[in-house]
C-alpha cells in the first residue's frame, strides 16, 4: 500500500511517490532557473553596450547556458512536475510505475549534468553552439547526449502521464470527463510526445556525426527537424501555461471557464495545428517555397492562433465570473480592480496573461507573417518576442503556481509575505521593459546573439539598450527573490500540518453559476484593436523596404 495523505485545503489525496516526483522535478526546475537567471543578467549587462560586461567568448558561452537552462531545463522540469500533479493528485489517483518515474528523473538529471558540464568547461568551439546547435557548428558529443537523455526522460514522464490517466479510469478513482486542467495538460503531453520524437530525429544523427560515425548532416534538413522540436517545445509551455492560468483563476478567485466546450476545443486546436509553427524559423530559408511557408506559418490558416484568441477571452472571463459571484458585481471593471492583487499567485497569473497577450503573442503572430519575417528574422525582436511568451508568460505563470505548490505539496509556510507579494510585480515589470526594448531594437535591425553592435547607427540605440539593461536588472531581482525565497522556505519555512491554512488563501468552491462578462468583452476588443494596429504598422514598414522577390 502506498502512503497517502489528504490535502487540507483541496481535499485531494496526495500519494507519496507522486509527491516525491513532483518535489524532485520542482527542485531541479528552480536550480535550472537560478543558473539560467545568472546567465540572463550577465548577458543583458553585456548587450547594454555602455557596460558591456562579459568578453565575447564568455558572452556566447553564457548565451548557450542561458538558453538551455531557461528554454529547456527549467520549464521541462516544471512541466514534468505538472504532468505528475495533473494525472495523480488532481485525479485522486496514484502514480503508476513509480520506479520508472524515478528512472526518468535520473535520465533528465544526467542530461542536465552533461549539458551544463560541457558548456561550462568544454573548448569554446565545442560548447558555445547555442540552444539551436545548427549543424555544421559542432558541439562535443556529451552536449548532444545530454540533450537526448533529457528528452528521453521527459518522454517517459509523458508516457507515465497517459498511463496514470488510464489507471485512474481503470481503478475508478476518477469517473466521467477529466477536469479542464488535466485536459489541458493532456494536450501539452500529446504535443510533447511528437516534439520529443522530433528532438530524437534531430539529435541522434547529430550525436553520431559528432562521433564521426555519420559522415554528413544536411544543414537545411537539420533546421527543419530541429525546429520540429525547438518551436513545439515552446508550444508545450504555452499549453501548460494556459492550463495553469485556468487552474490559478480557480484557486485564486474561484473562476470557471465560460464554456467548457469552447475551452476544450481550443486545446484540441493546439494539438492539431500548433506543430506547423516550426515553419516560423524557416521563413527566409532557401530550402522551402512560399506555399509551404504560408500554409505552415499561419499554423494552417491560423487555427492555432484562433485557439489562443479563445483562451484570451475565456481566461479573463473565468476570473470575471469568479469575482462577480464573490460579490464584486458592480460596473464594468470592479471585479478586476478589487481582484486579490495582494495574492502573488493572482498577480503572477494576471500579469503573465496580459504580458503574454500584448507582448509575446502579438509579436509572435506578426513575426510569423512570411513577408514581415524578412524584417525580423534573427534580430533582437526574436528574443524580444519569446521573452514575452516563455519568460513573462510561462515562467511567471509557473512562479504563480509555486505560491500554492510550496504550501500544498511541500507543506511549508512562505517565510515572507512581503517578498512573495512584490515578486511577480518586479519580474513582470522588468521583463515588460526589457522585451519592449528588445522588440524595438530588433525592429530597427539590431541582431540577436551578437556580442557587439557598435557599428550599427540606430536612433536611440543607447537609450533602448539602457532600458533593456534596467529591465533585466528589475526582472533579475524578481527572479532571485523568487529562487531564494522558495529555497529558504523549503529549508526553513514553518512546517504546515493538519488543517493549517496556507499563506495565501485559495478558493475551494467554484463560482456557483456563470454570469455574463461585459468587462472581459471590453478588454478582449481593446486587445483586438491593438493587434490590428500592430499588424498594420508592420505591413506598412515592410512596404517601404527595398523590393525583393
Amino acid at each position: 500500500m502506498q502512503e497517502v495523505r489528504v490535502c487540507p485545503v483541496t481535499g485531494l489525496k496526495v500519494q507519496r511517490h507522486a509527491e516525491n516526483l513532483i518535489k524532485l522535478n520542482a527542485v531541479m526546475a528552480v536550480v535550472s532557473l537560478l543558473i539560467g537567471g545568472i546567465g540572463a543578467i550577465l548577458l543583458a549587462l553585456t548587450r547594454w553596450e555602455a557596460i558591456h560586461l562579459l568578453p565575447s567568448d564568455l558572452y556566447y558561452r553564457f548565451l548557450t547556458i542561458h538558453g538551455m537552462n531557461m528554454l529547456v531545463f527549467w520549464i521541462v522540469f516544471f512541466e514534468c512536475a505538472g504532468l505528475v500533479f495533473a494525472s495523480t493528485i488532481v485525479l485522486n489517483s496514484r502514480q503508476v510505475a513509480p520506479k520508472l518515474g524515478y528512472f526518468a528523473f535520473l535520465l533528465m538529471l544526467l542530461g542536465w549534468l552533461f549539458v551544463n558540464y560541457i558548456v561550462f568547461t568544454g573548448k569554446f568551439t565545442e560548447s558555445a553552439v547555442m540552444f539551436t546547435a545548427y549543424v555544421p557548428l559542432r558541439a562535443h558529443p556529451l552536449f548532444y547526449l545530454g540533450y537526448i537523455l533529457f528528452a528521453v526522460g521527459a518522454l517517459i514522464f509523458c508516457i507515465l502521464f497517459f498511463l496514470n490517466v488510464y489507471n485512474a479510469r481503470r481503478e475508478k478513482a476518477f469517473e466521467g470527463p477529466i477536469p479542464l486542467f488535466t485536459y489541458g495538460i493532456a494536450a501539452a503531453a500529446v504535443i510533447a510526445v511528437f516534439t520529443l520524437i522530433h528532438g530524437a530525429f534531430a539529435f541522434v544523427p547529430v550525436f553520431l556525426w559528432s562521433l564521426d560515425i555519420v559522415k554528413e548532416i544536411n544543414p537545411a534538413v537539420y533546421r527543419l527537424i530541429f525546429w520540429g522540436f525547438g518551436h513545439p517545445a515552446q508550444q508545450i509551455n504555452l499549453t501548460a501555461m494556459v492550463s495553469v492560468w485556468y487552474l490559478l483563476s480557480y484557486f485564486t478567485v474561484g473562476g470557471i471557464t465560460p464554456s467548457e466546450k469552447v475551452s476544450r476545443t481550443a486545446f484540441l486546436l493546439y494539438v492539431l495545428f500548433i506543430n506547423a509553427g516550426s515553419a516560423h524559423h524557416l521563413l527566409v530559408d532557401p530550402a522551402f517555397g512560399a506555399p509551404w511557408k504560408i500554409f505552415n506559418t499561419s499554423y494552417v490558416l491560423y487555427l492555432a492562433v484562433l485557439a489562443s484568441l479563445i483562451h484570451c477571452f475565456a481566461i479573463p472571463a473565468s476570473v470575471e465570473i469568479g469575482q462577480r459571484s464573490r460579490g464584486f458585481n458592480n460596473g464594468l471593471f470592479t471585479w478586476l480592480i478589487r481582484a486579490p492583487w495582494g495574492n502573488p499567485a493572482f498577480a503572477a497569473f494576471f500579469i503573465s496573461l496580459v504580458l503574454f497577450g500584448f507582448i509575446g503573442g502579438t509579436s509572435g503572430v506578426i513575426m510569423g507573417v512570411e513577408q514581415i519575417n524578412m524584417k525580423l528574422h534573427n534580430t533582437l525582436a526574436v528574443p524580444g518576442h519569446f521573452h514575452g511568451t516563455v519568460a513573462a508568460g510561462t515562467s511567471l505563470a509557473f512562479m504563480g503556481l509555486t505560491y500554492y505548490v510550496v504550501p500544498l505539496i511541500f507543506r511549508r509556510e512562505w517565510l515572507s509575505k512581503f517578498f512573495a507579494v512584490i515578486q511577480p510585480y518586479l519580474f513582470g515589470l522588468g521583463l515588460a521593459i526589457m522585451a519592449i526594448s528588445m522588440n524595438t531594437l530588433g525592429r530597427m535591425g539590431v541582431p540577436r546573439r551578437t556580442w557587439e553592435t557598435s557599428i550599427l547607427n540606430i536612433p536611440h540605440k543607447e537609450l533602448l539598450e539602457m532600458a533593456l539593461g534596467i529591465g533585466a536588472i528589475i526582472a533579475f531581482t524578481g527572479l532571485i527573490i523568487f529562487v531564494l525565497h522558495t529555497v529558504l522556505t523549503l529549508l526553513f519555512g514553518k512546517k504546515l500540518s493538519g488543517n493549517d491554512k496556507p499563506t495565501f488563501p485559495s478558493i475551494s468552491e467554484p463560482a456557483p453559476q456563470r454570469t455574463s462578462t461585459p468587462g472581459t468583452v471590453t478588454l478582449a476588443f481593446i486587445f483586438f484593436f491593438y493587434l490590428i494596429i500592430m499588424f498594420a504598422i508592420n505591413w506598412y514598414i515592410l512596404s517601404k523596404s527595398w523590393e525583393i522577390r
Binding site: 557548428l137 490558416l301 525583393i548
Partner: protein, 175 residues
C-alpha cells in the same frame, strides 16, 4: 472549475452570446491575416525569394572567385569590390568571419544575387534597410533585389557562427 469534474453534459451547454461573437470575430481575423499573406505573395513587392539551388560549397566558392576576377574594380581592407551589370548573376559568399565581395549596385535597377555560405549557417542582414535572410551551406539562395535608396549599406551576420561572429560585417554600395 479547472480541477473539478465538469458536468457530464458539458458538451450540450449553451455558449454565451458574447463568446460566440468573439469566436466569430476571431475566425474572421484569422482568415483575414491568412489572406493578406497570400495576396501580398501575389501582388506585393517584398516577398521572400523562391528560387534556390543545391550546390556544393566548394563549387560555390569557385564560382564566387570567377565572378570576382571578372568584375573586380578595387579592394577595401583585403575584400574585393565588385561592380557587375544587372543582367548577370551576382555572387555573395558568407564564411567565418567575412562577407565577400563588396557589391556595387545602381539604385532602381534589379539584380539577382546568389547568396550562400561555405562553412556554417550565417545570417545575411542588410542594415539599416533591415532585410534578413538565412545563408545555409549547400544551398544557393537567389535574391532578386531592387535597391530603392542609395548609399553605403552594411551586411551584418545575424546568425551565430563562432567566436568572430560579431566581426563579420560586409558592405553593399548603392550608387
Amino acid at each position: 472549475m479547472a480541477i473539478t469534474k465538469p458536468s457530464e453534459a458539458y458538451w450540450d451547454e449553451k455558449v454565451e452570446a458574447s463568446e460566440k461573437v468573439w469566436l466569430a470575430v476571431s475566425i474572421l481575423a484569422c482568415l483575414f491575416m491568412f489572406l493578406v499573406m497570400v495576396v501580398w505573395a501575389i501582388a506585393g513587392k517584398q516577398n521572400p525569394p523562391q528560387e534556390s539551388y543545391i550546390i556544393r560549397p566548394s563549387t560555390f566558392q569557385q564560382r564566387v572567385e570567377e565572378f570576382i576576377n571578372k568584375y573586380k574594380i578595387g579592394e577595401e581592407n583585403g575584400v574585393p569590390i565588385v561592380e557587375a551589370p544587372s543582367n548577370v548573376d551576382l555572387y555573395l559568399m558568407g564564411r567565418m568571419f567575412q562577407w565577400t565581395p563588396i557589391l556595387v549596385l545602381k539604385k532602381g535597377e534589379t539584380y539577382r544575387i546568389r547568396l550562400s555560405s561555405i562553412d556554417v549557417n550565417h545570417g545575411f542582414s542588410i542594415q539599416p534597410v533591415n532585410i534578413n535572410f538565412q545563408a545555409v551551406p549547400g544551398y544557393e539562395y537567389v535574391l532578386t533585389l531592387k535597391p530603392t535608396q542609395s548609399g553605403e549599406f552594411l551586411i551584418v551576420c545575424n546568425e551565430f557562427c563562432g567566436i568572430g561572429h560579431h566581426k563579420m560585417v560586409g558592405k553593399i554600395i548603392v550608387k
